[in-house]
């Protein structure tokens, strides 16, 4: 089946199979391997992308369901010359360890701050609770999101 996708401001027309997931399309067809697969059942959040402004687990979205949607993956957020405040804060606070959860964390934090630029600590914890991390104990990740929110608010 043919689908149209906008991914990181680029337009694609793709012929996908019925059981193909958005995650597979991103990783295997578009080579956007920054989106990770950690569990395949929407529990870990490593495959988080932003679809029409909202975060989704791309392992739970069939490619067909993404037809006509606008997707942002980690490759579409910030750059070395101009990192997003969340990315900068994660690095500076020391919130990155193995890094496998990091792309998903960045996208969840970005989506949170896009909708709510001044979240409370509880709102940050809730907003990030769909993304599992096994290394950091979340402590520095939550601090980094707080720091980024202060920068965004300025």
């Amino acid at each position: 089946m043919e689908i149209k996708l906008e991914v990181n401001r680029k337009h694609y027309i793709l012929d996908v199979t019925e059981d193909e997931r958005l995650l597979d399309v991103l990783r295997n067809r578009l080579g956007l391997t920054g989106t990770k697969e950690g569990c395949g059942e929407g529990e870990c959040g490593a495959c988080t992308v932003i679809m029409d402004g909202k975060t989704v687990n791309s392992c739970l979205v069939l490619a067909g369901q993404a037809d006509g949607r606008r997707i942002t993956t980690i490759e579409g957020v910030g750059s070395r010359r101009s990192p997003h405040p969340v990315q900068k804060a994660l690095v500076e606070v020391g919130a990155v360890q193995c890094g496998f959860c990091t792309p998903g964390m960045v996208l969840s934090a970005k989506a949170l701050l896009d909708q709510n630029p001044k979240p409370t600590d509880d709102e940050i914890a809730v907003g990030m609770s769909g993304n599992l991390c096994r290394c950091t104990g979340y402590d520095k990740i939550l601090r980094a999101v707080r720091k980024a929110s202060e920068e965004v608010a300025e």
Binding site: G38, G40, E41, Q87, V91, V96, C98, F100, P103
Partner: protein, 421 residues
């Protein structure tokens, strides 16, 4: 004098990680690669009567590996007691039995479902205390002909009778800890290929590339210098990437087919393809004198090694050595045992045998304090190791013993809580 030691230098790899640039093994692909799937045992203990792969030879299937394809079919961190692919016997659910390589993952999975394995179930052991009984069937007769106890460390110090005589209070309890998984976020994956030199290259996330190289070379019958392990970014490990998982199978498949081979575990497969933390049963009897000094400890610690040795002797050694906790106890009788069962094999995990006894020795401290009517802090301060202390193994601690300093540092946060501590 120091300029960069003691400051929080930023890690260089953090930038690549926040941009999603860092590559983990599943992120690598090579042209013309084939996709591998491992077929794992559904039986906890069984003899393999036959493996029939006829129906699995579907279009798109390139190769089917079984034990017969290996040059040397064993690996293991201490003893090479773990078959790469099962031979005549499986010892746990999840033992790799065969592997399919196909042009697509879908074809490999389809073929894997068509491999017929005829098992003859054998009596299985799931409780290590059952496994310790002399009547139990030995699970590794080639290593231990008449027992499943693969390791026993006795620690003896002082005189137990004297210790119990000095004890004003004695607390005796049983403790148990559960099996847990490392649950690193990145499931195992590997890309193996033959490079332009004719060398076997294995890209993998591992804790110890040189060990992996040795095991791959050994299993394939190659020199170390002809095998290159290139470690990708590693998505967490915590001990779960110590033992070999997919590396040898992928390397052998690439060597046999001369094509790049990719394996990528699902989370479900990941649960079956690495070790677990040892469940332990811990029998503790601890005595303290009237003034709160610990005078005697008798402990028996039994660890479930599961189906293979992995690091079990080292882990049960660590459990025994750390069984006293960070305290000086003059009269000690400790025995730790590692026992084979048909549970998933257990191995290294953060804490490595020193994690389990924590719940036992620190519970005993609180219970003793209660019996003696002194505070939990007081009983610890009276017994903590310091410079010059002797441990249960007779080791004298000559420097850098921060136990008291650590306890004192947390005290301000404990005082004032209803006066209990």
């Amino acid at each position: 004098m120091t300029q960069v030691i003691g400051n929080g230098s930023i890690r260089e790899d953090a930038w690549g990680k926040v941009f999603g640039e860092s590559k983990y093994p599943a992120d690598f692909n090579r042209p013309d690669q084939i996709y591998g799937v491992v077929i794992r045992s559904t039986q906890a203990h069984a003899r393999i009567r036959s493996i029939n792969v006829d129906k699995a030879r579907l279009p798109g299937v390139i190769t089917i590996l079984t034990a017969e394809d290996m040059v040397y079919n064993r690996h293991g961190v201490l003893f090479r007691d773990q078959p790469v692919l099962a031979e005549e016997r499986v010892r746990m659910i999840g033992d790799p039995v065969a592997a399919i390589g196909a042009e697509s993952l879908a074809a490999a999975k389809q073929a894997a479902a068509l491999v017929e394995i005829d098992y003859e179930p054998l009596p299985a052991i799931f409780d290590p205390e059952e496994g310790m009984k002399p009547s139990a069937l030995p699970l590794h007769p080639e290593l231990f002909p008449d027992t499943n106890i693969l390791y026993h460390l006795p620690i003896r110090r002082g005189n137990m009778d004297e210790g119990w005589t000095q004890a004003e209070v004695v607390v005796e309890r049983e403790y148990s800890t559960q099996m847990v998984d490392h649950a690193f976020l990145q499931p195992e994956a590997v890309l193996a290929y033959i490079d332009e030199r004719g060398h076997v290259v294995v890209q993998v996330a591992t804790q110890y590339a040189h060990y992996d190289r040795g095991e791959i070379a050994h299993a394939l019958g190659l020199k170390n210098s002809k095998v290159q392990v290139k470690t990708t970014t590693v998505g967490g490990a915590f001990g779960g990437r110590e033992d070999i998982s997919l590396q040898i199978i992928a390397a052998m498949m690439a060597w046999k087919t001369m094509r790049p081979v990719k394996f990528e575990n699902t989370r479900n497969e990941s649960f079956y393809s690495h070790s677990k933390r040892h469940p332990m049963k811990m029998y503790y009897k601890t005595g303290a004198a009237k003034d709160g000094r610990l005078v005697a400890l008798e402990a028996k610690i039994i660890g479930d090694a599961g189906a293979y040795t992995s690091w079990s002797p080292n882990i049960l050694r660590k459990a025994a050595v750390h069984a006293t906790g960070p305290y000086e106890i003059p009269h000690v009788k400790i025995d730790s045992y590692a026992v084979y069962t048909n549970n998933p094999y257990t191995g290294a995990m953060r804490g490595f045998g020193a994690a389990q006894p924590v719940v036992a020795y620190e519970s005993q401290m609180d219970l003793l304090a209660k019996e003696l009517g002194i505070s939990q802090v007081e009983i610890r301060m009276r017994n903590l190791l310091k410079v010059g202390s002797t441990t249960a193994t007779g080791q004298v601690l000559t420097e850098s013993v921060g136990a008291e300093a650590c306890l004192k540092a947390v005290l301000p946060y404990l005082t004032g809580k209803e006066g209990r501590v």
